[in-house]
């Protein structure tokens, strides 16, 4: 094959792949247009996706209660967290049900029912369970779902420092 090609090219005038003026101009214009469009669009795209690229604030721990007040019986504690929402800063109040397990380890459960998000309470019906007033979902002391709800109650990150209980981010239940 290659011999054949050489043979042909020897007899033909050399064909240079030359760019025509028209082609050159259209490439130049196209390139310039693309560059200018890119210059206009890029800032807007970066602007729109900024929330994706902002570094997530790490879960800060908030002081909630003295360690000595925590018993094996779950108790409701309210605490405020600092929340930054764009140009608004607020101090929404959160609720945690805190208790000790059999080994004396402190854990805190979120009161948001995993069924449809109502607020659960401890032992409103005398069964020593968390009860949801909306659709009768029930959870054990550890937050394990017994009926209605399909997932166990979420848990707060807990830190005990110098006799004070601090709560952090909400995470899926690690106890069941």
């Amino acid at each position: 094959m290659s011999n054949h090609e050489q043979h042909e090219s020897a007899h033909r005038p050399v064909q240079r792949k030359e760019m025509s003026r028209r082609q050159f101009l259209s490439y130049t214009l196209g390139g310039t247009t693309a560059f200018m469009m890119g210059g206009a669009v890029l800032p807007m795209v970066r602007f729109a996706v900024d929330p994706l690229l902002v570094k997530k604030g790490e879960g800060t721990f908030v002081k909630v209660v003295e360690e000595s007040k925590i018993t094996t019986e779950p108790q409701e504690f309210k605490f405020k967290v600092h929340q930054v929402d764009g140009w608004y800063e607020s101090e929404p109040e959160l609720v945690a049900w805190i208790s000790r397990d059999a080994e004396g380890k402190i854990f805190a459960l979120s009161p948001v029912c995993k069924h449809l998000g109502c607020t659960i309470f401890w032992n409103t019906k005398g069964h020593n369970e968390y009860d949801c007033p909306c659709h009768d979902a029930r959870y054990t002391r550890d937050g394990k779902n017994i009926t209605v709800a399909r997932l166990p109650l979420d848990e707060y990150d807990v830190k005990v420092d110098d006799g004070i209980v601090y709560l952090g981010a909400i995470k899926p239940n690690t106890r069941v």
């Binding site: 729109a48 929330p51 994706l52 929402d85 608004y88």
Partner: protein, 223 residues
Amino acid sequence: MFKNVYNWIDERLDITPLWRDVADHEVPEHVNPAHHFSAFVYCFGGLTFFITVIQILSGMFLTMYYVPDIIHAYASVDFLQHQVAFGQIVRGMHHFGASLVIVMMFLHTLRVFFTGSYKAPREMNWVVGMLIFFIMLGLGFTGYLLPWDNKAYYATKVGVEIAASVPYIGPYIADFLYGGDIVGAQTLTRFFAIHVFFLPGALIAMLAAHFLMIRKQGISGPL
């Protein structure tokens, strides 16, 4: 008077062929309810467009009072509905029209499906119609948040959580829609922008393509 004005403009710009090209075309017998009453099924596309126009107009007027801000949104909607004359009607048009658009679009889609009108050479128009369908769903989803009441808040939370369950890119979609970590100030402004500028822009472009194609290809033949 009108005729004189029209003639004066027409002499200079020759506008008659322009509007004739748009408005003056034959309606085949099989799609004309005056000939066969059952042909009313061919009206659903036009009805969808009619309601879409009402949605665009009523939406434009709603923004005269509405404020997309977490502190003021609910109060502004409450004000425009209860204090402003005909507020209940204008917001009602937008609110009920939103459902009606989906219903009409669905009926139109059924008509196209059962008459086989999506077949060659009109496949592209079916695809564009599907894009319009998804744009409409997007408009419904983003518009639902704007009154900033409990229903709006939780519908958006649930909706974005569903979007977040997409494999791999789900969390990024959620962040993009939330504009942060929570349904908050930035979610509301984002949804407002998408509802009022981005999706209507895309919708109008798609509708133009939809109508150009149907004019170019003509309506499909009788069954």
